[in-house]
Amino acid sequence: MSQFYEYLKMAVSNIKANKVRSFLTMLGIIIGISSVILIISLGNGAKNVVTDEMSGIAAGQIALYTYDDTGTYYITNDDIDAIVEQVDGIKAVNVYNYFDGKLTTRKGEFAVSGSGQMSSFPYFSNSTILKGRYFSENEYKAGMPVCVIGEEDAIRLFGSTDVIGMSLEVVPSWGNSITFDIVGVEKKPDDSMFSYTYENSPVNIYFPLTVFSQIYGWEMDDYYQIYLLAEEDADTTAVTSQVVSLLEKRHQCFGESIYQYESFNDYMSIVNTVIGMVTMLISLVAAISLVVGGIGVMNIMLVSVTERTREIGIRKALGAKTRSIMLQFLSESAIITMIGGLIGILLGIGGAYLVAKIVAMVQPTMKFTPAVDIFTILFTTLFSSAIGLFFGIYPARKAAKLSPIEALRRN
């Protein structure tokens, strides 16, 4: 074992004696390892972003819509009641409808994005209540002009989140003005690319969908798109097809594919699969460059063996055994690839954070951290050492097999 330490020392002193060459040899490994780390970290980071976003707003959420050119089919309030009553595994159903408008407070004039929701809104919101409450079933049924706003919007409008009981007089760009009583303030959601505020971004207010009858002057009862939320343990596909057949039965349009749906879970897994595949593919290319780097190591080690034939002869004459020479040269290529691997890991991680920073500058709404996991690092370290050993074996054997007189004779 102490012998082994000597070989390591010899290897290190030799690497030091040929700094530039050793560095150039490492370069292939550095590039290979850093690109593997960079790509895997970015890929995993992107996957995490997508997963977070999706699970924040829409895990288990299914969009169901009518698909027909004639405009004869739609979904009614009765349909929705029937779905909730008759289909097992449905947790909630919701319909959204939006209007644009503006409102004025002491703090100035603000654009408004009004969002009418059913009383199941809390299930579909990606946030939770901070102060007050959501609107109730009764308020929904009665079409009461009450609303919930976000924490940040409350501060923008009034400078405080103590706004329960205050009213907002909203002038829609089309339809009648209406005064909402604030009943709740929602927490600011975690950073999300789907809900963000910027300067002059509209104030979001959430209110009972039934209030639209006061804005537009007529009842809303025909929807082209509704949102279903399945129970957590339910099979979303099975539940959704049950909903579809119920609707087909109620509207007498069996098998015409009028009612279609998209599940966000499906989206998510597709997006993840695509990101995973792209990551894999690029990693493969990077791995190939790693192998090329390994061949570079072998190449230089072979040159080194030829150049140091005399040294090998001297060492053998002085008593070095085949194994000693072999270990000395193997240590050298292993150390070169290991140092290269370490530099590569650092560069890869650094590069990934740099890319994330650039992304954040270009697209400030996308808060994106690269995911550097210990597994990737361990694996790449092992892989680079393995490459060093594998591609080091041939030159090392060649060196070790030299006969001492042959080696000494060469000059």
Partner: protein, 251 residues
């Protein structure tokens, strides 16, 4: 005095077959512990080939070789490495130091391959370098030293592990006369301390430092003469010269 080297009917044939070269042709020889032997002969006579056999750098085609009581003629590569490490200290014409190691590190090499612990190794190497007068050049690389100094490092390396045999192949071949004298003085000192020294040379004046001179012609020993301890170098040199002329006359 006991026997250190015993060689019997040693043959070394290069390129067996059509144009074979009998570099050593039936050489038998015994060398006692503590002798100072010079092996002389013209270029191509087989001196280096013989040195390679004696130094266990190469194996003979046939014949037997007992070194320090062990039969070493049929050993494998790694076994020969072991023998070289333990039994032989080499001094080469071209010094054969490793260029990117310091004098001290070069001297330590045989001790590393003998598994001597670092502290002991350092101690032995420093002592060895002192012996050849290089204690103030220990951290110099070979390229920073004169030829004579480099050869002294090589001698220190040969001595460090205290092997029974010192084997020197044309040790002064690359040196000027002053450095040559220094080196030969060191070899004589080693002999006087009781070490066994085998010197290979084509130079009669160099060979005259030895007390026994073996002449090789065409791979065969043609003469083997011992001289008294009290004979001067000049006297021995003269005798070797005369004997060489006599030899020349026979051919």
């Amino acid at each position: 005095m006991d026997t250190l080297i015993e060689v019997k009917h040693l043959m070394k044939i290069y390129n067996p077959g059509e144009n074979e070269v009998r570099a050593l042709n039936d050489v038998s020889l015994t060398i006692m512990r503590g002798e100072f032997v010079a092996i002389i002969g013209q270029s191509g006579s087989g001196k280096s080939t013989f040195m390679n056999m004696l130094g266990c750098l190469d194996v003979p085609t046939s014949g037997s070789y007992y070194l320090n009581g062990k039969d070493v003629s049929g050993l494998l590569d790694d076994e020969l490495s072991d023998i070289r490490n333990k039994e032989i200290g080499f001094i080469f014409q071209g010094f054969n130091l490793i260029p990117n190691l310091t004098a001290l590190e070069n001297v330590e090499l045989p001790l590393i391959y003998r598994n001597v612990p670092a502290a002991k190794r350092h101690e032995l190497s420093v002592a060895s370098l002192k012996k050849v007068g290089l204690e103030n050049r220990m951290d110099h690389k070979p390229s920073e030293m004169s030829g004579g100094q480099q050869q002294r490092v090589a001698i220190a390396r040969a001595l460090a592990a205290a092997p029974p045999v010192i084997l020197a192949d044309e040790p002064t071949g690359n040196l000027d006369s002053a450095s040559s004298k220094e080196i030969m003085q060191i070899l004589r000192d080693l002999y006087n301390e009781g070490r066994t020294v085998i010197l290979i040379t084509h130079d009669n004046k160099i060979a005259a430092s030895a007390k026994r001179v073996i002449r090789i012609v065409d791979g065969k020993i043609v003469s083997d003469t011992s001289y008294g301890d009290n004979e001067s170098i000049e006297a021995i040199a003269k005798k070797i010269e005369e004997e060489g002329d006599k030899e020349q006359g026979y051919v």
